[in-house]
């Protein structure tokens, strides 16, 4: 048993606790330890990827208890990739948080950040359904704190809405787990899969109920239409770096759908007609509503939020096919949409820091207009899926994988038409914010008031007008811009190395559709356990 498997859970947990206990008042120390923790997490994640690339599935039995009784952590290619993606994203976004000064807008940013990473990594690694619920709650409760970081009436209100929606989702999750436990008598995912496989088809009524309930829960997390209503206000009102980290949270829902519906529920009997028929239309509507939202919104923050919804739509179209080829496309698109979505939120936050708000209206030329316009342009191209960036390759892979599907005309029509809408929406927003502002040269550029006395590293109480990040708070705008540059570099690398990445995704998808390796790893070879 290799103890490194639990490191992505333990490391952020220990870091978060250390930060909150010993470094409460020292922002510099918090930053050093937090970034070191995230960097170490990335290192561990890369090592786990190397381990998983052998094609073997690794099991970590907590307390060395035998499998269906104790909790297990599972490491396969998909889990390792998601952990690495989370760590890489967190590292880049954390640099942005330093550079923009967001992390000194309130208390406990870094502790919450680490707990958030713990929850996300745990959700990717766990092999136990109830443990997945626990990690969901960990990542949610940390995200509540992060979401209202910095305070302000609108943000708090959006936070209350976010909590209420997700509490209802958690309740549903427990109901689904209860139903599944009542049917199968186990909570270990591999054991559950083995029992479902031998269950007679006429006894599966409750199982199907459980499967659909679970699908609803994960659809809330992934913000599939019609369960997406929590997302726009939450993401638009969350601090920029937090919204960027949340780009990986919708992927937790997608990951859980992929995991449960390839491993536990056999597609031929139980799920066909129940989940499949629901998932594809929901994905198409998600894509359409996300892209129309990009065009319809009057706020840059909401624009980024709707772009996130649209990317989940494209992703779920690929996932809903449940074929290895489509899943390959989905895995590629997961990496792309996480990086691109996060970069868009950061660029939008840079605009907000310079303009004071995010409404799509004419305003004076902001400082650093050219650089930010260039970053926005590149990010928008990546998000809507135009060449030359990886969004284009991702969409091509999705279209190619659905070529033979029965619903292919619907899928192709929706993807292509909605991309057009998104391109129009993005270019309208970009030209209004960046180009047309030059027509208003006579309006004096508002400068950040330098007269205000600089407070300590962490302010005790924020003034009402400080809830919006402004440039005067930025420790280093250059660092913030280079963090966005890092994410864009990731997208470029994803484009250039599309071949190797696709081969990696292919191997990952093959592993997902051969659940017997996973089952054997957990349920057999348990000598020496309690």
């Amino acid at each position: 048993m290799n103890h490194i498997l639990i490191a992505p859970v333990v490391l952020p947990a220990v870091m978060g606790a250390l930060i909150i206990l010993w470094m409460r008042a020292d922002l510099l120390l918090q930053r050093v330890f937090s970034i070191a923790g995230t960097a170490a997490l990335l290192g561990v994640a890369l090592y786990l990827n190397w381990m998983a690339s052998s094609g073997e599935v690794y099991v970590y039995r907590l307390g060395n208890w035998a499998a269906p009784f104790g909790i297990v952590l599972m490491l396969d290619r998909l889990a390792a990739m998601m952990v690495a993606l989370t760590a890489a994203l967190a590292l880049a976004v954390q640099l942005y948080a330093f550079g923009s000064g967001w992390d000194r807008k309130g208390w406990h940013f870094h502790a919450l950040w680490q707990f958030q990473l713990m929850g996300v990594c745990g959700a990717f690694l766990t092999g136990d359904a109830f443990n997945l619920f626990v990690f969901f709650e960990i990542l949610l409760i940390a995200s509540y704190g992060l979401m209202i970081h910095g305070g302000g009436p609108m943000r708090l209100r959006a936070g209350v809405q976010y909590i209420a929606y997700n509490l209802a989702g958690s309740t549903l999750f427990l109901a689904a787990l209860g139903v599944l436990y009542a049917v199968t008598g186990t909570l270990n995912m591999a054991d559950m899969a083995a029992r479902v496989a031998v269950m007679p088809a006429e006894d599966t009524a409750l199982l199907r109920t459980g499967a659909v309930l679970l699908m609803l829960v994960f659809a809330i997390k992934a913000s599939l239409v019609p369960l997406h209503f929590w997302l726009p206000s939450t993401y638009a009102n969350a601090p920029g770096p937090v919204a960027a980290l949340f780009a990986v949270m919708t992927k937790v829902g997608v990951y859980a759908i992929l995991r449960f519906y390839t491993l536990i529920f056999p597609q031929d009997t139980v799920i066909e007609g129940v989940v499949m028929d629901l998932l594809l239309p929901a994905a198409l509507f998600t894509l359409a509503i996300g892209q129309i939202g990009i065009l319809g919104t009057r706020n840059l923050g909401r624009l980024a939020a709707f772009a996130a919804i649209g990317s989940v739509g494209t992703l779920m179209i690929a996932v809903s096919q449940f074929t290895p080829q489509a899943t390959t496309a989905a895995i590629y698109y997961i990496i792309h949409s996480t990086l691109a979505g996060a970069a868009l939120f950061l660029v939008v936050d840079m605009v907000g820091a310079r303009r004071g708000d995010l409404w799509l209206r004419l305003d004076g030329v902001m400082p650093g207009n050219g650089l930010i316009a260039a970053l926005f342009f590149a990010t928008a191209i990546a998000v809507v899926g135009m060449p030359p960036f990886s969004g284009f390759i991702g969409k091509l892979l999705v279209l190619d994988a659905t070529r033979d599907a029965a619903a292919a005309p619907w899928i192709w029509g929706t993807v292509i038409l909605s991309s057009l809408v998104a391109i129009y929406g993005m270019s309208r927003a970009g030209s209004l914010v960046f180009w047309k502002s030059y027509e208003l040269q006579e309006v004096p550029v508002p400068v950040a008031a330098p007269a205000a006395p600089r407070r300590g590293p962490i302010p005790t109480k924020l003034e009402p007008d400080e809830h919006i990040q402004d440039l005067g708070d930025a420790a280093s705008p250059a660092l913030a811009a280079s963090a966005v540059g890092l994410l864009l570099a990731g997208i470029v690398a994803l484009t250039i190395f599309a071949g190797p990445v696709t081969r990696f995704a292919e191997a990952t998808a093959d592993q997902l559709y051969n659940p017997s390796i996973y089952l054997h790893a957990v349920l057999e070879g348990q000598e020496g356990t309690k």
Partner: protein, 123 residues
Amino acid sequence: MELLLSSAIGMMTAAGIYLILRRRSFAVVLGTTMLSYAINLFLFSTGRLVINQPPILQDGVTSYTDPIPQALVLTAIVISFGMTAVTVMMALGAFLEGGDDRVDMPRADREPGVSRGDAGEGR
């Protein structure tokens, strides 16, 4: 016994759903609490209902009740308790900063230039 438990779960779920659809955050908090009570009872029932039997191994006892749902309910109670506390704190914060305790977003969240009362313009 079964009828009593299932109707209790049903009634609490109905009350919970009605309450979380209300507009004030106080009712929503009560609603989520009610829902979590209902779910705890439901989880408890997933190990089949048996009366007067121990969950843990004892000498001279041959039949037991399923201990796992009890452990799950315990976890769920702890989590929902913590979550309720967080919700109350956030709702209080939103009420004190925003001036009212509605859970829906005001128009100022979607449209520029709309005043949202005395608390200044939000982003």
